[in-house]
């Protein structure tokens, strides 16, 4: 139980500091909403169309690839922390895990998913 106290204190501190800034900002800052202020800012001109509606599929593809390969890091971190205790078998498991991941990456790379056009 005791080692979790550190994490709790960390989150409490983060919460209060962030909350304080937001609260002070909204309380002390003067607010004068106006019609023009709520419109989208497009370099000083009236925006043609807000970027609503369909977006090119390329953005979606890149975003998915990023999430795929970035989330894997979540598994690598605890492994790295407990690396001493796991010994050789832990190393082999991680190599296999990363191997599968890299195979997927090379497949995507080969297919040109990373190219933009």
């Amino acid at each position: 139980m005791s080692e979790y106290v550190g994490i709790v204190i960390f989150f409490v501190l983060a919460g209060t500091v962030a909350g304080a800034f937001v609260a002070l900002g909204s309380v002390l800052g003067p607010k004068k909403p106006s019609a023009v202020k709520s419109e989208a800012f497009e370099c000083g001109e009236v925006a043609f169309s807000l970027p609503v509606g369909h977006v090119a599929v390329k953005f979606y593809l890149t975003a998915i690839l990023f999430i795929l390969f970035d989330v894997e890091l979540v598994f690598v971190y605890p492994w790295a922390v407990a690396f001493r205790g796991l010994g050789a078998s832990g190393l082999v498991e991680m190599v296999v895990f990363l191997g599968i991941l890299m195979a997927g990456f090379f497949y995507a790379w080969d297919n040109g998913a990373l190219e933009w056009h």
Partner: protein, 435 residues
């Protein structure tokens, strides 16, 4: 999607509006809208007299103001049919080249900053500060200098200019070497700059593009070499030429041109015809003006009656003796030395005839076109005169106007992120584009 990269955008240097039709990140079509900094230079040039136009010419290409000054003054001198003494030609070449270096420094620095290389921007602006201190030493102002006059320049090069100029150029060379090391083989910079904003030399010529932009496509057209003016035909310098005509080549051409400009300045400083900076010592024992005034105040007339007053040759007015080094010896064009204006009636009459409204410089009726190599290309002044003291029509051929008209050809097919480096290397200056 229709996106508005509008006038108030950091990459658009604040005054261009590009409406881009985007397909994802690809730029499909572009509509460029300019004119946000149109200040009516050509209309104002018709209301003031010939020397009054010079402050307006500083604000055309305000990054290299001295080149505009020289271009306009040489055009009016061609209209008048007078020529300037040797030393004045050399002074004009020196300050024009200093101004060209500051223009390239600002352009390359801002271009690199927009790609994230902020430190290169800080180094280059530091180098520009050294050169601006030099310009301030010669002309009195950092940016809006109005140094040139029809028929000469405002004042001679001050004493100790050579050492200060040598030091400043050495600092600039050091910054150029640093920036070259930082940028030229930098993987991100090369990837962002090479291949984007390409234009072929035929298109460039058809659009009327000149200057570093045209030279990066492989055409070696430089007004200083093809139609040499001032003393450029006596100075050795070569014209850097690119091959592919993309942003990276323009960056290399500008960096090399700065090196050539430094070379020109050193040659010009070496063989500038010597004109005495200060009044000749042997004709009358020189006494500083302030001292003379003090002596006069306490009534010690005997000490000052045969002395020759010495005033600083630049800001307080040109000392009489070295005045002929910098003016065309044409009484109807150039203001007399301060000592003459207050010393004798001829000087006072000459001053009156040049300054009073309706008098001033009155060239014959005629029209004249004079091209000069500006920092962005051929900067031409077309002047029509109707014999009165103010120009009938002054037309500036803005070099970056042609480049901007080719912007759709540069940007269509590139990605949205390539608009910034391309626009950085177009070096569009609002004052010159919209006049």
């Amino acid at each position: 999607m229709l996106l508005n990269v509008g006038p108030a955008h950091p990459a658009m240097h604040g005054i261009i509006r590009i409406v881009t039709k985007l397909d994802g990140e690809l730029v499909k079509d572009i509509d460029v809208e300019i004119g946000y900094l149109h200040r009516g230079f050509e209309k104002m040039a018709e209301t003031v007299d010939y020397n009054g136009v010079i402050p307006y010419t500083d604000r055309l290409n305000y990054v290299s103001p001295l080149i505009n000054n020289m271009g306009y003054c040489m055009a009016v001198e061609k209209l008048l049919g007078i020529s300037v003494p040797e030393r004045c030609h050399y002074i004009r070449v020196i300050v024009s080249e200093i101004s060209r270096i500051t223009d390239h420094l600002t352009c390359v620095g801002a271009g690199a900053m927009e790609l994230g290389a902020f430190s290169v921007f800080l180094y280059m602006i530091k180098a520009r500060e050294y050169l601006w201190e030099l310009v301030e030493m010669v002309t009195g102002a950092r940016l809006t200098v109005s140094y040139c006059r029809v028929g000469g320049v405002k004042g001679d090069l001050p004493e100790g200019f050579d050492e200060r100029c040598g030091k400043a150029l050495q600092e600039t060379r050091k910054v150029l070497v640093e920036s070259d090391a930082l940028l030229t083989r930098n993987r991100i910079f090369v990837d962002r700059m090479s291949g984007t904003g390409k234009i072929s030399s035929e298109d460039a010529i058809s659009y009327g593009i000149t200057g570093p932009f045209l030279r990066s496509t492989g055409v070696a057209y430089d007004v200083r070499k093809d139609c040499p003016y001032a003393v450029y035909d006596r100075l050795q310098f070569d014209v850097p030429v690119g091959t592919r005509g993309d942003n990276y080549d323009r960056f290399l051409v500008r960096m090399e041109e700065m090196e050539q400009s430094i070379r020109i300045i050193e040659q010009a400083l070496r063989d500038i015809p010597p004109g005495p900076f200060l009044a000749h010592a042997e004709t009358g024992r020189p006494i500083p003006a302030a001292e003379m005034v003090d002596e006069g105040k306490i009534g010690n007339i005997a000490a000052i009656v045969d002395r020759r007053v010495v005033t600083d040759p630049t800001l307080e007015g040109a000392a009489k003796s070295q005045h002929p080094n910098i003016e065309a010896g044409e009484k109807r064009v150039f203001l007399p030395a301060k000592e003459d204006t207050f010393g004798n009636i001829e000087g006072l009459m000459q001053q009156f005839k040049l300054v009073m409204y309706g008098h001033g410089i009155r060239p014959p009726k005629g029209e004249v076109y004079f091209p000069v190599e500006g920092a962005n290309g051929e900067l031409g002044f077309y002047i029509v005169s109707d014999g009165t003291s103010s120009a009938y029509r002054v037309r500036v051929r803005p070099p970056c106007f042609a480049i901007m008209s080719a912007l759709p050809k540069l940007l269509i097919g590139d990605m949205m992120a390539d608009v910034t480096p391309t626009f950085g290397s177009v070096n569009m200056i609002g004052g010159e584009l919209d006049r």
